[in-house]
């Protein structure tokens, strides 16, 4: 190699290095704990990866971090009768495929979503909506089956995206790996098991996003993700374990953002009328007095949770405080009044009545963060109170088996004793959460609670009407949940996110609505 060639080579290498450095400053790398299986939300509505879908796909309305509606693909809307809303759509928007976004596209989306012959998952999140109709090119009517107070909330759900249904109908399931949306980023490369790379949409209706390349790295081990953030391989860790938060927050180059996710976690009682223990209100009440949820939230979960003071997340619309105080003496008093007495089982003091022990199982699905420690803490608190408790951990598939067995009536009383459950509706309005879990028709009513009075109040709250009346109805419904001790309150979950300080415009959001297009890097 002569000197000239060498010089050329060196210049080429230097240029390449400069180019790489320049492009790196315009790349945002985000660490994610799990990976989507499909980038078509029609097939994957897992809550944990919805913010990734949002880079590509968009809804009609978004929620701001303080839970206000933001017109998004819809510029404005009005209710035209009890079951219909009319939306004026944003003009000049196109999908990544080149297909126009207009009333026909919206109708095509709802047709695909509600196609009976198809197994799409989005419709499960908007069960009260029945379809849409074109009014003119940029005006569309969307209809619900009956009067529906949370109509607009349904449109803001993080699971609902107006995907490019015209294209999806053409290419079928391939749309999962070649998605087209109206969003600020377009899919560039998806290396399965490893990462997804997206590039800024040059025709984005909101202006070209400042960050050119958006990368999502799938890092299952939290220690690895946090370490990669510290050395600068990663700019954002979407979910940080609570024990790392304080340490990271103290570093000058990292900022911690938190938001309450409006997700209440509780141990629900089995309300089957034949349950040997929990068909008795006194037993349920006593157990709620025996659990100290301040200790659980503050000591075990730290920044990740706040003690739950009602039956909804405290930032949801319709939340009312109905606290279950920690008062084991009051709990003991209730049991004594109901005829229970403390007896001896081995080395333990255990409540007994007519030869029956206060002994049961806590069942908890293993997909919630730190649920094992929470279960052990509850077990210890209940043991101190005089209940013999064992813990049963199950995985996601068994969780859904139980749910389905209860729904189909195969297994009611035998399904579980107490069940660790987080209400996952994630809407501004708390009504849908109460409905799914506690209404007699609730689709995830694992609890098997059936109370006509509650159903009545909840229906009133879910019907369109003056806000004060709806709130009053929600309050009565929650009062009943409290009176009947439907569950033992634990905590509401906070989202903890870590972001490198040179990323500007980041805001933690209760519903994990991401706003990728707002981010810049210094």
């Amino acid at each position: 190699m002569d000197a000239r060639t060498l010089k050329r080579l060196l210049i080429a290498v230097a240029t390449l290095a400069l180019l790489t450095a320049a492009s790196a400053s315009n790349t945002l790398a985000v660490a994610w704990h799990s990976e989507p299986v499909s980038l078509d939300p029609h097939y994957d509505t897992s809550g944990s990866i919805m913010p990734i879908q949002r880079a590509i796909h968009e809804p009609l309305i978004k929620l701001s971090a303080d839970m206000e509606y933001i017109p998004w693909l819809a510029e404005s809307w009005e209710q035209i009768d009890e079951t219909t809303y009319r939306f004026s759509l944003r003009q000049g928007v196109t999908y990544h495929s080149g297909n126009p976004f207009n009333a026909e596209a919206v109708v095509a989306f709802f047709d695909r979503t509600f196609d009976e012959a198809d197994t799409g998952r989005q419709r499960g999140w908007i069960p009260d909506i029945i379809g849409a109709q074109v009014v003119d090119e940029y005006t569309v009517d969307i209809m619900s089956a009956g009067p529906h107070a949370t109509f607009l909330d349904d449109m803001t759900r993080i699971h609902i995206h107006i995907t490019d249904a015209v294209l999806a109908n053409e290419i079928g399931e391939r749309h999962g790996s070649e998605p087209s949306g109206t969003g600020p980023y377009m899919l560039d490369e998806w290396r399965r098991g490893e990462m997804i790379r997206m590039t800024a949409n040059p025709d984005y209706w909101g202006g070209v996003p400042a960050i050119e390349t958006l990368e999502f790295y799938f890092i299952p081990e939290a220690t690895t993700a946090v370490g990669a953030l510290e050395v600068g391989e990663i700019d954002i860790v979407w979910e940080v374990p609570p024990h790392e938060a304080a340490r990271l927050g103290a570093l000058p180059e990292i900022e911690i953002h938190t938001a309450s996710t409006a997700r209440p976690m509780m141990y629900h009682f089995n309300h089957h009328p034949d349950h040997p223990l929990f068909s008795d209100l006194a037993v349920r009440k006593a157990i709620t007095y025996a659990i100290d949820n301040d200790v659980i939230a503050d000591v075990i979960l730290g920044d990740m949770a706040d003690p739950l003071r009602g039956f909804l997340g405290s930032n949801t619309w319709g939340f009312f405080e109905f606290d279950q105080p920690f008062d084991p003496e009051r709990g003991a008093e209730i049991l004594r009044e109901a005829g229970w007495e403390l007896g001896q089982v081995g080395q333990y003091d255990v409540w007994m009545k007519d030869g029956q022990r206060l002994q049961f199982t806590l069942t908890h699905p293993n997909f919630w963060p730190r649920q094992a420690e929470v279960a052990e803490q509850v077990q210890a608190q209940l043991a101190a109170f005089g209940a013999l408790v064992s813990i049963n951990t199950i995985d996601r598939a068994l969780h859904w088996d139980i749910l389905n067995h209860i729904r189909t009536g195969v297994e009611g009383v035998a399904a579980f004793d107490m069940y660790f459950l987080g209400n996952g509706q994630r809407t501004r309005d708390g009504g849908p959460n109460l409905q799914d879990t506690y209404a007699s028709w609730g689709i995830t009513n694992l609890v098997q609670w059936n109370n006509p009075e509650f159903d009545e109040y909840l229906s009133q709250g879910l019907s369109p009407g003056p806000e004060e009346e709806r709130l009053a109805a929600y309050r009565e419904a929650q009062r009943l949940l409290h009176e009947h001790a439907v569950a033992a309150q634990l905590y509401e979950v906070n989202l903890i996110q870590a972001v490198r300080s040179d990323v500007v415009g980041f805001e933690a959001h209760p519903m994990e609505e991401p706003f990728w297009e707002r981010l810049t890097k210094q």
Binding site: T224, G227, A397, W400, L403
Partner: protein, 306 residues
Amino acid sequence: MGTYVVKRVLQIIPVLIGITFLAFLVFYFGPGDPVLMILGEHASPELIERERTRLGLDQPMLVQYARFLGNLAQGDLGISYRSREPVTSVIAPALRATVILAIVTMLFTALIGIPTGILAATNRGGVVDQVTMSVTMVGVSAPAFFVGILLLLVFSYQLRWFPASGMRDWNSVVLPALTIALHFGAMLARMTRSAMLEVLGEDYIRTAKSKGLARRVVEYKHALRNAALPVVTLLGLQAGHVLGGAVVAETIFAWPGLGRLLLNGIIWRDAPLVQAGVIIIAFMFSVVTFFVDIVYSWLNPTIRYG
């Protein structure tokens, strides 16, 4: 030799058929309903039934198995329940990552294990022997998640020599491979040492030495070749293990390999994906053992199989 190879290849077929049956049975009788995992908690009972019918999961067990085998015979591994893509296109990139990891790991393992073992054996009882045996004891005992996180802290976070996660650069493979290779290499060193010691005590070594052959020639040409059988066996088994997915190392370093893919497949009851994965792993294991057997007869021509 030719007939032996053909026989050996034919033996792989019943093994694979047995594996397909087991992989099928586990999902058939195991808990958890794949249809619910596909449709999610909001699906109506009618939809659940219809999807069950569409997937043929309402058919009798043997009918389901026969159809599965029939598709397999045509090279059709099915459609993943969860991602709804052909299983082959889901597995291919993970398989590639796993094969890369396995090759580098086995290279490291051999480079660490064999020279260390020889060194220890030829210095039997000396300081070198004692030190290497103590260190390899640690290597054999230390769990992979501990070693992995230690390597991550030192070489990625402190020294910044290697990336912490994924397959970002050509050198991404080093830390996950080293995590496994330190464990495997320690095992291999101990195996090499004991195999060498056994051979070094044989009469023909004494003869070779007394002929006045150089020490190196005796150790490497005469002793090592004869000590190689157990070493090759262990290497083969270890290679099979990495090819079957090294879940711990893959998880710590976010390496997109087969292990994590299949673990997720199991969690989501993605039967077609897991069954295909199990068959591929069984196939690779069979191929590795096949080559180990061939290497045997090359190393020691007195071994001939009937």
